[in-house]
Subunit: 237 residues, 2 copies
């Protein structure tokens, strides 16, 4: 099964982008009548058939739509401080989309090695991972949020709010699997290599965030974020 991204699909026909048209017609050698799948990244899976073979503008006709295709059985938002090396953040985004995540944010922290992230490149990695893993939902992405933005956003008590912290905590840090419950929406904050500052950590605690530990190993930022993603997926299995 081959999946293509059609964020702006509407109506009964659709023209693929030049790049995807070339891929479908030249690389995969598809032709009139062949079936390909499209997603809008909003949960819809379109079964389509090729009706036009312009190599720069492959046209398809929608035959059938599956709404809410393979929904993620949980809501997970990871807000992560970007890594110094962009590859590592992109790598996390790819793996998170494959495993399952509903939202990725990058946050600017006191100890951030890098603050500004370009959304478009990260978005491309995520689209590619969505297609690869046959998902029909592109996670929300927002970059360069301030730590305060994130805290402000989570006032509702229905979301489980966690912060992964390596430093000393006034309250016991529980293993993540002990606090995540299947089906409960969760937001997890992952700090930079130098960890969250004490001030950030205590501000988060006052806002109702629960400190968690990912074990006694020292994980890189992107490994910690990916580990959380896998842990939430495992709990929800």
């Amino acid at each position: 099964m081959l999946l293509f991204y059609a964020p702006d699909i509407m109506g009964n026909t659709y023209v693929l982008s030049e790049l995807e048209s070339k891929h479908v017609l030249k690389v995969l050698r598809k032709g009139i009548g062949d079936v390909i799948f499209l997603t809008d990244g909003k949960g819809n899976m379109f079964h389509t058939r090729i009706i036009g073979t312009d190599v720069k503008a492959c046209m398809v006709e929608v035959e059938h739509v599956e709404r809410d295709y393979c929904p993620l059985p949980y809501q997970l938002h990871i807000a992560v401080a970007p890594t110094k090396n962009t590859d590592r953040l992109e790598w996390f985004a790819e793996k998170a989309v494959e495993i399952g995540i509903s939202r990725i944010s990058t946050i600017v922290c006191d100890n951030s090695e890098r603050s500004m992230v370009k959304a478009d490149r990260l978005q491309r990695v995520m689209v590619s991972a969505m297609k690869q893993s046959l998902r029909a939902r592109l996670p929300q992405l927002d970059v360069n949020l301030s730590f305060t933005d994130i805290l402000q956003e989570y006032k509702e008590p229905s979301v489980l709010k966690l912060i992964a912290y390596c430093g000393v905590s006034p309250v016991e840090k529980l293993p993540i699997k002990q606090v995540v419950k299947a089906g409960q929406p969760v937001v997890v904050l992952i700090g930079p290599e130098g960890d969250f500052s004490q001030q950030e950590f205590h501000t988060a605690l006052r806002q109702g965030f629960i400190p968690v530990t990912l074990g006694d190993m020292r994980l890189r930022t992107e490994t910690a974020a990916m580990y959380v993603c896998a842990a939430v997926s495992v709990v929800n299995q």
Copy 2:
């Protein structure tokens, strides 16, 4: 804390390699009397002090040894078909060492896109990840095993034997978290992008391997292997 690898450490003094000597003395600007940590990758953590500052042969004296430093609370062996792109396999090895694993093997499968892997490069990645994550145990690595080698090796019933398989199975595939028990040694087989062949799968079943599912998502080989690693770690938390 900075950790260096000294696989052949014996006695009371040790001379770092040229590369590590340069790192300690030139990059980190350490000098006589400064403390650095060494591990032999066999579970021992050596607290040492610099006693010689030859930039090509930094000499240290062992002050104290911690035996069985931060042992992994579980035994996990992942045997994985190498990915077409070597980076992806190396990436898995790095993450697995960070999260915790006792042995990594690469296996040659019917549908392997690549069969031969060079051990030395993978080993370097693992050493680097061990130092980075402050572990004192370098997981065992063996490359290019045949599928049969692996099956032959696991005859003892004390090890939980799992195979991740995407195809149709005559027995129900359970989610991995339902079959892994905290503390029980486990071996997991992860196939190539084209999955294990039916023949491989059925041979494994006959040898007592239990089929597991990692969820309904289509994961790349290295993501599947890393997911298993995280899942076993989570279960053992």
